[in-house]
Each structure stands twice: as C-alpha cells, then as structure tokens.
Point group: C2
Chain length 439, copies 2
C-alpha cells in the first residue's frame, strides 16, 4: 500500500467495502455502488463527487410541472387514461418526431409508457413472438445493464457484442454474422450510447437499417438522450439538422423516447414508444398463439401494456404533452436546457486526461467523441476494481463497464449529471492529488 | 321480433352490432362493449345508463391531489423515486394495514406499484418461480378477466373454478382437490369480489389460510375494493371491525391495495403491494435460476419491479401517502366517501328485481349480499348475449360474466359507478318499459 494522506481515510474505505460484501467493485451494480458510497460518505464526512448515477441534475421545465398541476386540478386523477394514451400526447409526440427527426409516425403509433423501462420491456416481449424461429435479440453493446436484466425477467434470449472494434463499415459484417443465423428478431442499441456516449454515424445507422430490411428484424432505437449529441444542434423544429435515426433507412423500427434525461422528468416515469406505422399495423400470425391477437400495435397496447399497468399516469401524460408542444411550437428549447451536461463533460474529460487517465471510447469513426452525459475512463495498469477503489480514496465514485457488455473491463463510466460547474475546482484538486500519488 | 317502440332504435342497434363484428355480445370484452355503446349512443342520440365500466364515479379527496401538486412544486418530477418506494408512503401503508386490518407488515414490505395491475403482474410472475413443481396458479372465480390476460402475457398456467356452489365449508374440499395435486403456487381472489360483489366470510378466509399453510402456497388477496363491504363499517382507525383478510390465518400472503376505487384515484395508477414479512424475507433457491437472487422481497423489487418500470410515479406516491395518512390520523373517512356506491346498488337492485330480473350471486353463505360497486343480474330464458342486446334497446349497457370464469354464462355484471342517484328515475322508467315489453 502506498503511504499517503488521501481525502478519505483508508480504513473507512476498507471497512465499508468489507461490510458491503462486494469482493470485486468491478462487478457491483450501480445501486450497490450508490449504497457503498452513501456509507463511506456518512462515515468519513467527505462529500463525494458522485459520477456513478445517471440521474438528471437539472430542473425540469415549468411547461411540464405546470401542465401536470393543471391536469390534477381538473380532476384527471380520478379517470383511467386510455391505455393507448391521451390524444394530446399522441398528437404532440407525432409532431415531435416530425419536427426533430423528420420522421413520419401517426399519433396512433405513439404510445405513452411508464418510462422507457416499460416501453423496452413491452417491446422486447412482443418482438420475441413475431416468428417462432426468431427467439433471440441482439444488443449492440456496451449497453444499459438493466435491459439485460429485463431479458432475464422475461426469460428470453439475447446475444451481444462490443461495438468498439466494429465501427463504420466493419459493423456490417459483424452484424451479419449474427443475423444470417436466422434466430435474431431485433437489434437493440442506444444512441447516444449509455454508457460510452459514442454516437452512431449516418453510415452506421444505414447499415443497421439495411440489415433490418434484409433479414426482417426490428431495430429498437433507445433515444434516452434525444438531441444530446451537442455536436449537432437539432433544436429548431422543422429545420435540419435532425436527431439521427435508423428510421431514415428502414420501416422496421421502434423508437423509445424518454422524458427522463432530455426533459429532466425521470421521477414521473414517462416515455413515448413510437412504433413505425408499417409495424404497428402489421399482422404477425404467430403473435396469436401467445396473445390471442395478431396485429403488432393492437397486441402491444391492449394485451401487453394493458396487462403491465393499464397505461401510464394520467396527469404526467399532460406534462409530457405540454413539454413536447412547447418544443414543437418553438417556445421551449429543450436541447439548450441540457447543454450544460456537455460543458461539464468537456471540462471533466480534460481534468481526467491531464491527471493521466485515458478516454476509452473516444471516437465516432473519424469524429472526436461528443461531450455529453457520460464518458469512459481508464488508468494505466489498473483493473476496474482497483481503479474504483483508488478513486474512492479521493472522494470520487463511478461504475465499471464490466456489466455493460464492454470488453474494456478495466474502464469506468463517469456520469456528469451530479457534478455541477462549481464543483470542478474540487474535482481538479482531488485529481491533482491522485496524479501526484500515482507518479 | 317483438313489435315495440324502445328508447333506442332497433335498426341502429342492429347496424352497429353488425359493424362491430361482435357475433356474440356475451363474449365481448369490456372495452369492446364500451366502443359499441359509444357508437350506438352517438348514432341514436340517447344517453345510455352505462353499467359496463368499473371506473370511479366520485371525485378523489383533496388530500391526494393537493399533496401531489405540492410534491410537483417541490420538484420531485426530476428525481427517480427509489424502486421500493418513498419512505413516507411505505410508512403510511404499514400503518394503514395496522389501523384498518389489524395486520402487522413492516414498511419495508409495502411496495408501491403502478396500480394493482403492475402489482399483480409482478406477484404472479415471481410466484411461478418459487418451486419448480409449482408452475400453476389457482383462481377462485368469478374474477377480473384482465388477470387471466396477464397470465397469457406471462406465458404461465392457471386453473380456476366458480365458487358459486362452494361457499362456506364446501370451499375446503374444492380447494384441496386442486392443492393436493402439488402444482399450485398461489390462490388468487378479490374480496369484495369483482364481478359479483360476494365477500368471503371469516370461515372461508380461514379455510383459504389453513390450506395455504398446509400446502405452502401463497394467498394473493386483491383488495381493490378495500373497506367497501358496507355491511361492516371499518372506517375508524385502530378500532374493530376491520377489513377481513386471509392475513389473519396465514403468513403466506400478499395483499394488493389499490388507490383506484376506494380512493377514486384510478387515473394516477398507484397501489401498494403488501407482502407478508415472512415471505418478503424468505429465501427461495429456485428464484435464483431465473432472476439471479433468492430472496422474495429483493427479487420482487430490484429484479422485477425495477425491470417493469423503475418504480412508480414519484409525485403520486406522495398523493397516496397523504390520503393514507389522513385516514390513519382519523381526518379522512375514505369509506364514507365511497358509501354512495352502496346506496346506488340498493336502489338499482330493487329496480331490476321489480322488473323481473334475478340477482345471481346473492348470498354470502347465510348473509344477504352487500350493496356495493357491482351486482349480477339475469333474466329468465335469456342468454347473456340476448340480455345484453335487449338492454341496449332500453339504453342500458353492461358486460357478460362469460369472461370471468363464472358458470352463469347468462348473467351480466352491472357496475353502479356511472349511475348517479339523480339517474335512478330514468333507470326506473326504462326498466318499467322493459318489463311491460317482456310480459
């Protein structure tokens, strides 16, 4: 052990890790790290720079909360929402994808869900019953670990690969090596990506779209960080540039658009699942065996989402509708509202690299990575477990990429959302000390 | 066809039924009947007396909506709720079951869910993976058809029987005929019962509890209509009488307590799933195969509910907490608030029986049935399809018991919630005409 005087006492860290029962911090879940850091923080009195949780750090817009309050005053709490959603939200969602993606999806095919967690669960479930031969989903990893957990809960199969070595044209052959086996029903990915913040290029999205057409599989595009690739300002409704999407290259797609991050509305559990009209209205005879109905959209809404929760919270649907309407009308620049995350990332990445860290996922083919909600770091000759432990001594917490399907088991995901701009001096101080202690 | 001049034109009814594609109204779902009646109402201009939907017809208490508005003003919309629920709600739920059921459940084991629809889905799912031999649930029917649909979505097995001929001591042998086969993991029922409003007696609940102990199966008691057996006024906190429950007779139970009906809060999708502490903390090794964890409570919350929606809407948790607190503190008599349903049922049952109808499920062993949210009717020599069609001519709608597991396929469920007291004269008028037309 190096002799040193770190911000957090060595013994407290050792004790709390021992008490937690976590033998390898690199294998710990986000919630386990959160719990451990809470313990260490309390025992040491040191305020941590918390980079482990992907929670919004900015306030939601008044458009949302005020509309929700107004709806409650109107008494909507009493009345079941329609399972397929209130009209106002469906209409605004359809306009939103037109205005900010230049994609046409009818209001009918835009379904509110209890967060994209429910949207994903429902879509993963239905996609498994479209064709008896296609019983496996394919993740383009790294990815959000809870989606894998959803597959475990569903009792359904998936395969996955780390996209790190398969960017650009190389993605085609890699994807096709899975698809040609004939057992894949869908390709799942997030864009921008959680946990690495890589963003697929138009070329890559076209490859995914082309292959979805060729092999008749569905692209499930998780747009949790809609508009948050700040290299392209998509914030003007009806004008390019637009949020990039596979929807430009295939009609076999489902988009998950969450209010949690882009609209800082995570607490209310609200998202829109946008199904391509061509899929929504399509009949899949095999669906009937499991669900008694054969149309994708009808089965999704009136069999699956109805069974999961009878729809999504009534007042919150009006909140999301109001935020989307304000964005559609050009009154509310939702991208500007979250741009601060990019500013934070730019500073933090420099502080980490100056201290000897390396950004692991650092390119979109030939482009520099965007600054956004997450970035990934590693430190020479340290495993993920070692690096996490070391950072704890300096009052800094993060999670490992080990659970995300990444091959970079020694890398960590850093989330900027809890590190406000006025905390950067403290981060610099701690990283300076880290650097001095590790020369 | 009888020649007559009914409130709704014969031809419109024939046309709209033909357009709906519903060959047998007795097989139609609630939502299909709702759609059909909307069509007929619009075409005929006759305002229907709508008894088909089990939706709240009374306003929620200010305690709920005001607390929710206050929470939104505090900014909770931004922050993910803990998956196991906000403390205030867990504490008040624990107090609530103590005050109104005289049952001890720790706050830890009271989990908010996105309605009892999600609570049921999660519980049905986990109960299927407690023991590899026990792969089947048992419904005491009649029951809520959507719970059967949930099993279809889950791909899990159930058996069921109509309790009509097995009330009182006869229930024991009937239940045991299923349980002794060794494949049953849980017994599911609602009390008061949807659709028939029968209420199990203490003797019957003891039989269920005893058998849950004997065969190690879990009673899933759906208390959607908590306190709404108005024959017993349970509304004084901490004082008998209490809401009856299987929890007095076994530690193998889960209670589903919804805000939708007893608190008229259906729109916000909020319920509490109360798991007996003994079950919550119990380890089931077989759970680990599917979910990777073996404790019932941990698996339910951090594997299943997390996967379904990452918890329940944040602001609504404060609304339900506030309503429960007001009830616990004796400031809010939630039973008094919904007693009007009983008054309506008493009048409506008399109007229907005076017109020649029979109440089908009409006894709780030796007790007259309570007046509450639902009752069941039949008319001599008419099938469910015929009776539904006939009633449509008189501007009255209901649903058949055919989908509910009842053996009384000719019976209908009538819901009182949309028939306010000032509509009783119109109901009487229409039933008088029905009576005259069918002598």
């Amino acid at each position: 052990m190096i002799m040193r005087n770190t911000p957090v006492d060595e013994q407290i860290i050792e004790d709390k890790i021992a008490q937690s029962g976590l033998n390898d911090l690199g294998k710990a879940t986000i919630r386990e790290i959160v719990g451990l850091v809470n313990q260490i923080q309390e025992a040491s009195g040191v305020k941590f720079l918390r980079m482990e949780m992907g929670v919004p750090g900015l306030l939601p817009s008044e458009y949302g909360t005020q509309a929700e309050i107004d709806a409650l005053k109107r008494g909507v709490a009493r009345d079941y929402p329609m399972v397929d959603g209130v009209k106002e939200l469906k209409n605004q969602a359809s306009l939103f994808v037109k205005n900010f993606m230049n994609i046409d999806i009818s209001p009918q095919s835009c379904i509110p869900t209890v967060g994209s967690m429910q949207g994903g669960y429902a879509i993963f479930l239905i996609n498994n019953f479209l064709d008896p031969k296609k019983d496996t989903a394919l993740f383009i990893d790294p990815g959000f670990p809870v989606q894998k957990q959803q597959f475990r809960v569903l009792g359904q199969k998936y395969e996955s690969f780390d996209v790190y070595n398969y960017r650009g044209e190389a993605l085609r052959e890699k994807l096709e090596s899975y698809l040609k086996k004939g057992n894949i029903n869908s390709i799942i990915y997030s864009n921008p990506n959680n946990p690495t913040w890589i963003c697929f290029t138009e070329q890559e999205l076209q490859i995914i779209g082309d292959l979805c057409n060729k092999y008749d599989v569905i692209a499930v595009e998780d747009l949790a960080y809609f508009g948050m690739d700040f290299r392209r300002d998509i914030s003007t409704p009806g004008k390019p540039p637009y949020q990039v999407s596979v929807a430009n290259y295939t009609k076999n797609y489902v988009l998950l658009i969450s209010s949690s991050k882009a609209f800082s509305y995570a607490g209310q559990r609200m998202a829109i699942t946008c199904v391509a009209d061509e899929i929504y209205n399509k009949s899949y005879p095999y669906l009937k065996e499991r669900f008694g109905t054969d149309k994708y959209g009808y089965t999704l809404v009136l069999r699956i989402i109805y069974s999961l929760s009878s729809g999504a919270t009534h007042s919150t649907q009006y909140a999301f509708a109001a935020m989307l309407k304000a964005a559609n009308d050009g009154h509310f620049n939702f991208v500007e509202n979250v741009k601060e995350y990019g500013k934070r990332a730019e500073i933090m990445k420099k502080l980490f690299t100056d201290a000897g860290f390396k950004i692991v996922y650092n390119k979109d083919v030939d482009l520099e990575l965007a600054d956004g909600f997450y970035f990934t770091i590693q430190y020479p000759n340290m495993s993920g477990d070692e690096l996490l432990r070391e950072l704890l001594h300096y009052g800094i917490s993060a999670i490992s990429l080990d659970n995300t399907g990444s091959e970079h088991k020694d890398a960590l995901r850093a989330c900027v959302s809890q590190i406000s701009l006025n905390m950067m001096d403290m981060l610099q101080e701690r990283l300076d000390q880290f650097k001095n202690d590790h020369i």
